[in-house]
Amino acid sequence: MTDSNNNVAKKVGDTRAAFFKSFFSFLITFVFMFLSWIVLSGKFDPLLLWLGGISSFFVAYYFYDLLFPAMEPGYGKVFFRFISYVPWLIWEIIKANFHLLYLAFHPQMKDLIDPHIITFKTNLKSDIAITTLANSITLTPGTITVTADSDGVFRVHAIDRESADALPGTMLKKVAKVFGEKI
């Protein structure tokens, strides 16, 4: 236990601010964990709640830096913006799916599709933003992210021209807005 304590200490440095940062992210992780515990458990037996507390503490203590590695201020805002992003995304997904359904059932499907790979660059910086964009791309019309690196370069496999042309487009803007980044 002391080992990982030391590690943690090394990682975040010894300054007080860093400590509070990590403590804060620990706290948030703990809350998240405990909430999911309650959702999972569905029981309010004191023993189970205690166990949930201990488990959440355990996970949060050891792995808080996984969920929120760098606790930036304004994370809450990002969170709410993200929530508002989700319905749009789902709608996009549904559109994508109908498109695919159309393709899948079309008798001359092979004439409609024209797979190719496109590459584009974005100015997204944070990992989480890149990942969100990448996964959104994967989930939406006829495109799958092949690679996305930390410089914001995306390679995307598109099933037809139409889908390819739509990129990066609106989605990038939306994602950038969610994470407060410049396009």
């Binding site: 569905g42 994967t138 989930l139 799958i144």
Partner: protein, 107 residues
């Protein structure tokens, strides 16, 4: 209520059907991934929604939590499915699998 549930389930099934047909019909590996990755995700989404609605028929706090738990599956699938798809397609690229193109077929 039942009708909504049935509707959701049938839609979900329809998505799955599309996915399945797509998997069979698409010409190459990359194109197959499209239906597999997306239609199934949405299929799960629709079906779980239907099922959790059905679960809420006899409303209680516990039933609500249970439905929430079901939505955890959706949450999870929405995170993992594109990642898995991406991972597979990346694997295909790295492994050097060439993708099907129209030109190739014509030529």
């Amino acid at each position: 209520m039942d009708i909504i549930v049935i509707l959701f389930l049938v839609i979900g099934l329809f998505f799955f059907l599309g996915g399945a047909v797509g998997i069979i019909r698409m010409p190459d590996f990359y194109t197959r991934l499209h239906p597999a990755g997306k239609l199934d995700t949405l299929g799960i989404f629709a079906m779980v929604t239907g099922l959790s609605l059905y679960n809420l028929q006899h409303f209680s706090f516990e039933a609500l939590l249970l439905s929430a738990k079901m939505f955890l599956i959706v949450f999870f699938v929405f995170l993992s499915s594109p990642t898995a798809t991406h991972s597979i397609v990346d694997a295909g690229m790295r492994a050097g699998l060439r993708h099907w193109t129209k030109k190739k077929r014509r030529g």
